[in-house]
């Protein structure tokens, strides 16, 4: 079980942060990839809510393929946390919420010297996020 990578977007589609741990195949230029990812999420979110046969509660949560699973968490302010893991990982909404509340909000939003709306420069944020993900029960150092 493992975590492949993580994206953090704001409500305007700006990629605030990207980290990867195990990724064997690259999609192309990172900037293009972020736009693709954001565009896909935007479309899938509205599609999911339109097609829902019942009243929607949380909206789009995850999708999976035969090789990986993409987990999604969005706040009412439009901050989106996206994590790709392998298939053995179950629902991790609480993990994504923790990344938002204990890492992004604590270390970036509350720091008046960290400007919002652009890629996070904070080294503290990057390293805390890295330690947190590595400490997750479903993260193993070897991709598998």
């Amino acid at each position: 079980m493992t975590v492949h990578n993580l994206y953090l977007f704001d409500r305007n589609g700006v990629c605030l942060h990207y980290s990867e741990w195990h990724r064997k195949k690259q999609a192309g230029i990172p900037k293009e990839e972020y736009k693709l990812m954001y565009g896909m999420l935007f479309s899938i979110r509205s599609f999911v809510s339109k097609m829902s046969p019942l009243d929607m509660k949380d909206g789009f949560l995850a999708f999976q393929t035969s090789r990986y699973k993409l987990h999604y968490y969005e706040t009412p302010t439009g901050i989106k946390v996206v994590m790709n893991t392998d298939l053995g990982v179950g629902p991790i909404r609480d993990v994504l919420h923790h990344i938002y509340s204990a890492l992004y909000v604590e270390l970036v939003v509350k720091n008046p010297l960290c400007p919002l709306g652009q890629t996070v420069q904070s080294e503290l944020f990057r390293s805390r996020l890295d330690s947190y993900v590595r400490s997750l029960p479903f993260f193993s150092a070897r991709a598998g």
């Binding site: 409500r11 305007n12 589609g13 700006v14 736009k35 954001y38 565009g39 935007f42 479309s43 979110r45 509205s46 809510s49 339109k50 929607m56 706040t75 009412p76 302010t77 439009g78 901050i79 923790h98 938002y100 509340s101 204990a102 890492l103 992004y104 909000v105 604590e106 270390l107 939003v109 509350k110 919002l116 503290l124 805390r128 947190y132």
Partner: protein
């Protein structure tokens, strides 16, 4: 400097006197820097706005409140959760307009104005205007779910609201009243250049 990574929903305790005096020092300094009350009011609103856009993230991180479906739900969350969390008071909600797009928050006591008396030469100063800015900034970032309609992409919209003081105990009124008015929804769009 090491920081607590996870505080959960606990709040750090701080002396309310320190808070009130700090706010008072801020307003006093602004009055010295800008010679007229109108400019001070504008600055307070602007500062409040900048606080609000960040404060809303902290609020969402700590309160587990989801999206508000309409303005009434928003009003409830503001009065019962947000004000309680940040200022320790619970204003009451009254005076809804017939269209449901305006309401008033009545504050029996306002922690910002403990010990404060407005001098005569500052009669048009809106002392607590920072609060209006905070409300504006926070709501502009918060997203309300709109019912999916006939358009192919469903907008997740933010709210532009106006907040202003209509009664103020500092000016002799019995209570402090903030009037909140819903102006419009701002559409959430794809970044420019996407088709």
């Amino acid at each position: 400097m090491s920081r607590q990574a996870n505080r959960g929903t606990e709040s750090k305790k701080m002396s309310s006197e320190l808070f009130t005096l700090t706010y008072g020092a801020l307003v006093t300094q602004l009055c010295k820097d800008y010679e007229n009350d109108e400019d001070v009011n504008k600055q307070l609103d602007k500062m409040g706005f900048n606080i609000g856009v960040r404060l809303i993230e902290d609020f969402l991180a700590r309160s587990n409140v989801g999206r508000c479906h309409d303005f009434r739900e928003t009003a409830d969350v503001i009065a019962k959760v947000a004000f309680k969390m940040y200022l320790g008071i619970t204003p009451s909600i009254t005076n809804w307009s017939p269209a449901g797009d305006e309401f008033s928050l009545i504050l029996e006591n306002n922690p910002l104005v403990d010990f404060v008396e407005l001098p005569d030469n500052h009669s048009s100063l809106i002392y607590s205007n920072l609060l209006c800015g905070v409300l504006r900034g926070a709501l502009e970032m918060a997203v309300a779910r709109q019912l999916p309609l006939r358009f192919p992409t469903v907008p997740q919209v933010q709210m532009a609201v106006e907040a202003k003081f209509v009664q103020d105990t500092l000016k002799g009124d019995g209570v402090t009243e903030i009037r909140m008015r819903f102006i419009r929804r701002i559409e959430d769009n794809l970044p420019a250049g996407e088709e």
